[in-house]
Symmetry: C2
Subunit: 402 residues, 2 copies
């Protein structure tokens, strides 16, 4: 795990969950350039509204992110906004920084107010536990996740070592329109606000925005990137030599985290990768890929290891993209074996035995070839299992027992 210089982390249980960590702080010893992408849901949680306003006023002097899990502080009216403000204020006081340098995130049940006494005591305590180890923070932001999600890269820009650390959480209500759930990027790169925002936006479009667990877009989705410049590299600007390198590494992290979120989808047993190739434009490719990966019928068929490929074609068809069904090829592979089930719109004979072997794999790749251009896109999803229904039906009970 490569660590971005100048960042400290902590995480603890402040009593919102019964036993597990529920409050985390990420802190930078220097001012950070920050960029954020937020849920497109019309109903936005209090911390989302708080951050959007704050980043509009200050995106160059960010020092900390405070996150709580189990309660989303969403649909909580003016009291929710007041509580968000109090969270930031408390963190500012405990960390001895400006209130306007603190960003917030909450995740969990919608419609409950935060227990502010616990939160404030937790922030006080967490401020004294800061260390270089990001693990407690990664744990504190989880809700229904079964594992923590971290990814990092270290690379050189003009001979200077730069690091990026990404930390994310899943794993229900995943069908992002802008950002998915919570993902935090910490980097010691020296980068301009515009370049950071551009890199983040372009990468999120092709990572978190291309995954699906259950088709639901949360009120709390957020991706934040903080860059504190500690690496000492020459400032990265859009179009500078370092920008592409920074972007590539950032994007690798985001794709890795996005796939982790999907793998940890509630009840998931398989990772589904959908590649749409030879599309007339990228947007069409993305829409088709997302449509397939979001289809309940595709998800259940793959869960049951049933090569019911008609559902894949149907999901491509209702994506809203106008393509020629008579040009369509469809291949299914587990990375080793391949079956072609549709060729130029015509069903192909394939070995049922080979199909069964492929569908036993834990990662399955569906390639939809439109044979109509040079563009492509990839989306990731998971299967839909009885376990998903069980988990989600008792979500509140389950989260309460965390």
């Amino acid at each position: 795990m490569e660590l971005a210089k100048g960042f400290l982390f902590s995480g603890l249980n402040c009593g919102i969950k019964r036993y597990r960590k529920d409050l985390g702080i990420a802190y930078s010893t220097f001012d950070c350039v920050a960029a954020g992408l937020f849920t497109t849901n019309t109903v936005k949680a209090a911390p989302i509204l708080y951050n959007m306003k704050l980043l509009g006023e200050n995106c160059t002097k960010i020092r900390a992110v405070v996150v709580n899990s189990k309660i989303a502080n969403s649909c909580t009216g003016q009291q929710g906004l007041n509580n968000a403000y109090r969270m930031a204020q408390k963190a500012a006081q405990a960390l001895q920084i400006d209130r306007r340098s603190v960003l917030l995130a909450s995740t969990g049940i919608i419609g409950l107010q935060l227990p502010m006494d616990k939160i404030e005591a937790g922030i006080e305590e967490a401020s004294n536990l800061l260390s270089e180890d990001p693990t407690p923070f990664a744990e504190a932001i989880t809700t229904t996740d079964t594992f923590i999600k971290m990814s990092s890269r270290s690379f050189e820009i003009d001979g200077t070592r730069v690091s990026i650390l990404g930390i994310a959480k899943g794993s229900g209500m995943i069908h992002p329109n802008i950002a998915t759930m919570l993902a935090f990027i910490f980097t010691d790169a020296n980068i301009s606000p515009e370049a950071l925002k551009k890199a983040l936006k372009d990468s999120v479009e092709k990572s978190y925005n291309m995954i699906d667990v259950d088709g639901d877009t949360s009120t709390n989705d957020m991706v934040l990137a903080l860059a504190n410049g500690c690496a000492g590299n020459e400032r990265i600007e859009e179009g500078s030599a370092g920008f592409l390198k920074f972007f590539e590494n950032l994007h690798e992290i985001n794709v890795e985290l996005a796939k982790m979120i999907v793998k940890d989808g509630e009840g998931a047993t398989k990772l589904i990768e959908v590649r749409v190739v030879h599309a007339p434009d990228e947007l069409s490719a993305r829409r088709i890929a997302r449509s397939i990966v979001s289809s309940n019928l595709v998800k259940t068929a793959i869960h049951a290891q049933d090569p019911n490929w008609g559902r894949i074609v149907a999901a491509a068809g209702y994506s809203g993209v106008d393509f020629d069904p008579d040009k369509l090829d469809l291949h299914i592979t587990d990375g080793k074996n391949v079956i072609t089930v549709l060729k130029r719109g015509y069903p192909c004979e394939f070995s049922e035995e080979e199909a069964n072997r492929i569908f036993l794999a834990s990662e399955i790749v569906l390639t939809v070839d439109l044979n109509d251009g040079v563009h492509s896109a990839t989306a990731w999803g998971c299967d839909l299992s009885e376990e998903y229904i069980k988990k989600n039906g008792r979500y509140k009970v389950w989260v309460r027992t965390l």
Copy 2:
């Protein structure tokens, strides 16, 4: 059951399914004015393409509809189109009518070719079994349905008795954009093609297009209306006195059939009705209602009898409609007990006991009040159960054993 005069029906097993009926014919002794609405899926099954072309050339001299179940004749290339043509031709020969007066429908597995020898022998036999009883036809069009779906109305227009009979099937891949699955309307009304099309379109928008089982839009969705004029009423034109009466009765039938389809959703145990009221316009109301009723998380929460209302608000929020969350009210009722969980965007205290009582009901109504206008819309859906996953995972195996 009111019967529309001049229509005859038959249904039998021709050997596509093992035991159950799989081929049906609806026949009119007189020429029918016909209107059709077809799936918006880019991938359209052969019978859809066949009907769209035919109705473009002839929508006033339709005599029959031939339907097979278990195999969808979708993604079957040129051979599928040829087979559709042969189906129509065979029916025309057996019924001694013109090939261009025969409409088609298929439903079932995508990507398999029709067994034409069985189909043709079946059509021959079914042509000799025609009777006034629509039940065998209603049975023959089913796939995963657990009950047949028929609804009818009889009413007077200017002193003349007019009847409408509707027959539909579900029950997976239900998330229609134009038409849902198969629904057939047979009426003895004397009505112009334009008036029939207008009535059908307006009604479908608010019935089949407002239901959801699993978010998937089929390649075979179709609603057909046939009017043979046998009632002898004065011709119904758009805007004529009889039009509204015809529309009202047609719409009652369509809503009834739509709700039946949802109730019979795969694995469904509860009917969910979502009413969006006081919206600034009807389209917004409809989008919000459909978004909620299509949410996997709402479906699973209701399945588990969990009053996790935050998911309802979240689903309204990602509908794409821009509304003011601070004006939102949310009520939940089983028709007898009511709880208000959100008032002007603020969570309300409610009795957990009362909530539990409501969620035990088999029909649950969610009312979303935007407090921002005079328009409203209603959508219907079903819960998402473990049974859905089980059924759909083994869909092919299951359909094969029918």
